[in-house]
């Protein structure tokens, strides 16, 4: 049977009550990390992102969100510990959106990025990407298309590296443009990539370790959906898109 990766995207904005509910499920280290961030926007987005991850992962394995514990990997990729280690998780946030990916059995990486205003991405791609990819970015018809091409390549690289649990920098030149199965160099191994639809101005990709195909269950949610007191919304998103709690 084909593997499945669950991808959820939600807005990072939250009411004070929602923020309090997210904060309540964080562990002391996560609360400290949130408090250390320099602006209210960064603190709130971190709180929503990690709170949503805990709620979604907790429901997936049938335990309270605060009962989960992650251990950082060698290069920072956190892995669930204890009896839930078979569930692989990945978290990404950028701009006003948060992405959570859950996979049973296969390590997962998800990356979402907001298109930043700023420099033309051609020089960035020339400096850090594979030459074919740099040419692909430079061949964009206008600044918007060049930035979008660069952003798509970027999230694919980040997703693959997260799936691999490796360092970003040695893997930056690994080509991800043409093929969905890419070979990370550190640690060496194949990862299967997929683009995931996003609102305009964003790009997102997901990767699972290994080259076997997989299905993607992708639903945008609201934070209110995630925080549904009885979890019914999340249960029903798997079977029926129409249910609301």
């Amino acid at each position: 049977m084909q593997d499945t990766v669950c991808v959820r995207v939600l807005a990072a904005g939250a009411s004070p009550a929602e923020l309090a509910r997210c904060r309540a499920v964080l562990d002391p280290a996560e609360r400290s990390r949130a408090a250390a961030l320099g602006t209210a926007g960064l603190r709130d987005r971190f709180t929503v992102a990690h709170g949503a991850l805990r709620v979604l992962a907790g429901r997936a394995v049938g335990v309270p969100p605060s009962a989960l514990a992650w251990r950082p990997g060698r290069h920072g990729r956190p892995a669930l510990t204890g009896p839930h280690a078979g569930l692989h998780t990945s978290l990404s946030y950028s701009g006003d959106l948060v992405a959570v990916a859950l996979s049973r059995g296969r390590p997962v990486g998800v990356d979402i990025q907001h298109l930043p205003p700023g420099r033309d991405p051609v020089s960035l791609a020339e400096r850090f990407f594979h030459p074919q990819e740099a040419r692909h970015v430079a061949a964009g018809l206008d600044a918007g298309q060049r930035a979008d091409r660069c952003l798509r390549l970027w999230v694919r690289k980040e997703a693959a590296v997260k799936s691999a649990g490796g360092r970003l920098w040695p893997n930056l030149a690994v080509p991800v443009h043409a093929d969905d199965v890419v070979a990370c160099v550190e640690p060496a191994g194949p990862h299967r990539l997929a683009d995931v639809a996003t609102p305009s101005g964003y790009r997102m990709a997901v990767a699972l370790a290994g080259d076997a195909p997989y299905a993607i269950e992708f639903y945008p949610l609201t934070l209110a959906d995630v925080l549904c007191s009885d979890g019914s919304m999340l249960a029903h998103t798997i079977d029926s898109r129409g249910h609301r709690c």
């Binding site: 320099g38 990025q113 930043p116 400096r127 850090f128 970027w154 360092r167 920098w169 930056l172």
Partner: protein
């Protein structure tokens, strides 16, 4: 007196700190001033993609080439850590 060979030397660490500070304040507009002790990811929320932009800007500004092969999150915890790495892993263009 021997002349200092500038053809292969990294830029002075102070110059790197000065440029990094100005770049981060301009790009991220933090609420408090950036110092060498500022934690890049944990305080400023610096992402990998923004880090790449910062390095590219720095290469242009200081006319250097940064070797990113050995860069790791552990080596860019604070601005001072990143400056240490850059002082040891960059060469003039």
């Amino acid at each position: 007196m021997l002349e200092h060979d500038t053809s292969t030397a990294s830029p002075p660490r102070e110059a790197i700190v000065r440029s990094l500070t100005a770049l981060l304040e301009r790009m991220l507009r933090p609420a408090t001033p950036v110092t060498e002790r500022t934690q890049l990811m944990d305080e400023l929320g610096l992402s990998s993609s923004l880090a790449l932009e910062v390095l590219l800007e720095l290469e242009d500004e200081l006319e250097i080439q940064i070797d990113v092969e050995d860069l790791d999150e552990d080596r860019m915890t604070t601005l001072g850590d990143l400056a240490d790495y850059l002082a040891a892993n960059s060469t003039p263009r």
